[in-house]
């Protein structure tokens, strides 16, 4: 290996190489890709599987509404069995549910990261009054009990936007959830970025830019932002799973995505009470969501190690 080759490696490329070498992170990445493909390809899977997410099979339930047969009605036709009560197919609902959950989590993570980064940079660089105001808003947002506010606000919004005889489309509910996450979720990123910027702003390259008469926008987004990619990427990758869980927690309180739209959180919530009588129903969605979140967390951890070798193994 010649010295010139070594010298030509950018920090980004070095990080990529470190990530490639981390076996756990790569397994996680492949797992995530599989989950992603299942979610995106849900309609195709429905076609191949031959059963839709709203189709009911109540004749396969006993008089208590429990699926007949073994392990929650698992059969060649229903791979993961049937839901007690409504008698819908669990496998296809999980595929569609993953689609809903992943979309909400990704969108919420993007929105909160953007807001957090912008406000964090502004507060950290400008300091003074603006910093004080933004920091106070962060404190305020942290002091608000998130779940209680979500519980109060989410059901109300739909009533304001849709007439009493109009069905509220799922896309609107999804947008509301993303909005709620955005209002409360940006603070963490903002705090982190603000701290980083404070330590960067007195560095020579920023002073140099300032001395050259660079505009504020240029300094904030051309000079500072490129130096923040690593922590932002890591927070982003860890934010996605936290919104997957967050969305499930809202469903747990009955304010997430509602019937009949398939959704991971709602499914787990509904299944939990059947833990003793139909454990298979709890098992499939519960383990899948754990695997999904674990894969995200392991990948995020690997990414952190790759980008910031000092903290890693």
């Amino acid at each position: 290996m010649s010295t010139t080759e070594l010298a030509s490696r950018s920090p980004g490329r070095l990080a990529w190489m470190r990530l490639r070498r981390n076996r756990v992170a790569m397994i996680s990445a492949y797992t995530l890709i599989v989950f992603g493909m299942l979610a995106v390809g849900a309609p195709l899977i429905e076609m191949l599987y031959g059963i839709g997410p709203q189709q009911q099979f109540q004749h396969k339930l006993n008089s208590f509404g429990m699926p007949l047969g073994y392990a929650g009605g698992i059969s060649g036709e229903h791979w993961f069995g049937l839901e007690p009560g409504l008698g819908r197919d669990i496998f296809i609902r999980m595929i569609y549910g993953m689609r809903t959950s992943l979309f909400i989590a990704l969108a919420a993570a993007i929105v909160t990261t953007v807001i957090g980064v912008v406000l964090g940079i502004v507060a950290g660089y400008l300091g003074g009054k603006i910093d004080a105001v933004i920091s106070w808003i962060i404190d305020l947002a942290l002091a608000m009990p998130f779940l209680i506010f979500a519980l109060a606000v989410v059901p109300t919004i739909a009533l304001r936007f849709y007439g009493p005889r109009e069905e509220v489309p799922t896309s609107f509910r999804v947008a509301v959830l993303i909005l709620v996450f955005a209002v409360f979720g940006w603070t963490g990123t903002a705090r982190l970025v603000r701290g980083q910027v404070i330590s960067l702003r007195e560095r020579e390259f920023i002073e140099a830019a300032r001395a050259c008469g660079a505009g504020l926008g240029h300094i904030l987004f051309r000079e500072l932002l490129p130096n923040l990619w690593a922590p932002i990427l890591v927070t982003f990758s860890l934010a996605v799973p936290s919104y997957v869980t967050g969305e499930a927690a809202l469903s747990f309180l009955g304010i997430g995505i509602t019937e009949p739209t398939p959704d991971f959180g709602a499914m787990i919530f509904r299944s939990l009470s059947y833990l003793q009588t139909d454990p298979a129903y709890v098992f499939f969605p519960g383990v899948t969501i754990c695997a999904l979140v674990l894969a995200f967390n392991l990948f995020g951890d690997g990414l952190r190690d790759a980008l910031d070798p000092k903290s890693g193994a």
Partner: protein, 576 residues
């Protein structure tokens, strides 16, 4: 870390794999019919109540419940838990003798008989009190304290209780504007009087033939004026019944101990076998049922008040060991799909909905036969004089052909409003897919759960269909059909006639039957029930709630009240 997940996987798999779900389990006797009489012979109203075979004195009976009982002040009690609880510490003018199998007799409780219809026109009633009645401090119960109890129910601060007697006395729904309790604490409301220490007399402007039933509610319980603590009485009521409150930590625990001044010889229904009754609050339905299933320690003589949740039903119903400890019985809570007749004016559409309904699928969605029993009548089978019929035979899963025939190719677009709770949303999902099979186009509209009732009770509500349920305060058609379908009662909001149905011929029929003697009314209501459904179909009768309770192996004598559908404590005992 993967080993941990694998461990969980194996554990769950082990629990799952070995049991095959089949179609067996204990069943509900849903076809029984309530028979009832009013016992005019004073002998029937005398105590003591006949011994319960095998019952022994002593022990503590525990009742596990999620939330506190909403009211304990007898004049404010109206919830089912409150009504069943009140019999421990309050006595009423009349009460029901109930064998738990639907055989009911109305007898005098404080009164010697269930009331005397003085002129035979239901306008003047007299109740003569028994002798030997005492409060928890030993002083005698006289007509004065009974009348004071009724008078204080006019107090606008004491909300929550039934309002029948007040409205009848004042002859006005705004009864508290007609007579101001706070300004007249030493007098009695118009029409109420105490001719002597043992007589309570009611005089009404109109015929009120249901009075003996109305005073079987705890609101007719006595109270000495010097023990009236206003709103604070709610947490510490003053006892006239077999138990008094020993300790009450709101929302945590409520302990009853014996009231030594209660004389069983005066009481035709209560036994008071256990030394103590304890309500323990905080356990939800699942935790409560699980504790009673575990059957250890004090839970062995406990009752899970919140019932067996649908998710645990197959565990309890599928295991014969639990059957001797279960109480299972249809209740008088009748659920219907209300059709807003102001919007859905086409009778054929209403009839088509009735034909299309898949009751079996709906009941499976709710959790099966132990949660709900199908119903095709407006009045539940537990009503006096009930007669079964099916105006629109839909079979188990709905008669889609017949419904399509009635619709004749039309596609009615209907909006179904429902609460946003888990169960309500699932019901809406089920009904939507059910009706759409018959050619309807259903839009489901979620309304916040707690306001659903209020919103659908507004006359101008914008929806076509909604779920509604009605549990009568006494098992007579008089407290069901006119309440739900008398068009003259329709007002801007707070309607019980949520179908907004108004038909002159029917209104006249209501008036005619209401003038009859309560016993003669029963068969007439049954006939009218059928007529309403056949001629107008203002609702789709769906199901009656089924009471399904589990108690510990040491609890005995518990039965489901034929009047309210919740466990009654009058015969309860603890096995030693």
């Amino acid at each position: 870390m993967y080993a941990r997940i694998a461990g969980v996987v194996m554990l769950l798999a082990a629990v799952t794999a070995c049991t095959k779900t089949t179609n067996e389990g204990n069943n509900v006797d849903t076809n029984r019919v309530t028979t009832g009489v009013i016992a005019m012979d004073p002998k029937d109203s005398r105590g003591p109540a006949p011994e319960v075979p095998g019952a022994t004195k002593g022990g503590t009976l525990t009742i596990l419940r999620l939330t506190k009982i909403s009211h304990m002040d007898p004049q404010r009690v109206y919830s089912f838990a409150g009504l069943m609880n009140a019999s421990l510490y309050a006595r009423y003018l009349t009460t029901w003798k109930d064998d738990g199998k639907g055989n009911l007799t109305l007898v005098g409780d404080l009164a010697e008989t269930p009331g005397k219809n003085v002129n035979g026109d239901c306008k003047v009633w007299e109740f003569k009190l028994k002798s030997g009645l005492k409060f928890e401090d030993g002083r005698p119960i006289t007509s004065k304290e009974v009348a004071y109890g009724i008078a204080r129910s006019f107090d606008p601060d004491l909300t929550g209780g039934p309002t029948y007697v007040q409205e009848w006395l004042a002859d006005d729904p705004q009864y508290d504007t007609k007579w101001d309790f706070k300004a007249n604490k030493n007098s009695l409301p118009p029409g109420l009087s105490t001719p002597d220490a043992s007589t309570v007399r009611f005089e009404f402007k109109k015929a009120r033939c249901d009075l003996p039933f109305a005073v079987s509610l705890p609101a007719s319980a006595p109270l000495p004026p010097d023990k009236d603590t206003g709103v604070n009485l709610d947490n510490m009521p003053f006892s006239s019944g077999p138990y008094k409150i020993a300790k009450h930590t709101v929302g945590v625990e409520l302990v009853f101990e014996r009231n030594p001044h209660w004389d069983p010889a005066t009481d035709p229904v209560r036994h008071a076998y256990p030394d103590k009754f304890v309500w323990s609050f905080g356990a939800d339905a699942e935790a409560g049922a699980n504790r009673v299933i575990a059957d250890s320690g004090p839970d062995a003589s406990a009752l899970a008040w919140n019932g067996v949740p649908a998710s645990l039903v197959s565990k309890v119903a599928g295991n014969a060991d639990y059957w001797p400890r279960t109480l299972i019985s249809p209740t008088p809570s009748a659920n219907r799909l209300t059709i807003n007749t102001q919007r859905v004016k086409d009778l054929a559409v209403r009839q088509a909905l009735n034909y299309a309904i898949d009751r079996d699928g709906l009941i499976k969605t709710l959790g099966g036969a132990t949660v709900a029993a199908p119903m095709t009548t407006l009045m539940p089978p537990s009503t006096l004089g009930f007669q079964s019929y099916d105006a629109y035979p839909a079979g188990k899963n709905g008669n889609i052909e017949e419904a399509k025939k009635l619709l004749a190719g039309k596609t009615p677009e209907l909006v179904l409003a429902h609460g946003d709770s888990k169960t309500s949303t699932e019901i809406a999902t089920q009904l939507k897919s059910n009706f759409e099979k018959a050619g309807f186009k259903i839009t489901t509209k979620a309304v916040p759960q707690d306001s659903t009732l209020d919103e659908t009770k507004k006359k101008d509500n914008p929806w076509d269909l909604y779920m509604d349920s009605w549990a009568a305060d006494w098992p007579s058609g008089a407290s069901i059909l006119p309440v739900l379908f008398d068009g003259r009662t329709i007002r801007a909001e707070g309607n019980t006639n949520s179908s907004y149905f108004n038909d002159d011929a029917l209104n006249k029929e209501f008036d005619r039957i209401l003038q009859l003697d309560p016993v003669a009314q029963a068969p007439e209501w049954a006939k009218l029930d059928q007529r309403i459904m056949k001629e107008h179909a203002p609702a789709v009768p769906l199901y009656a709630d089924v009471a399904y309770f589990l108690h510990g192996s040491k609890a005995g004598g518990l039965y489901v009240s034929s009047v309210f559908g919740y466990p009654a404590f009058t015969n309860a005992y603890v096995k030693s």
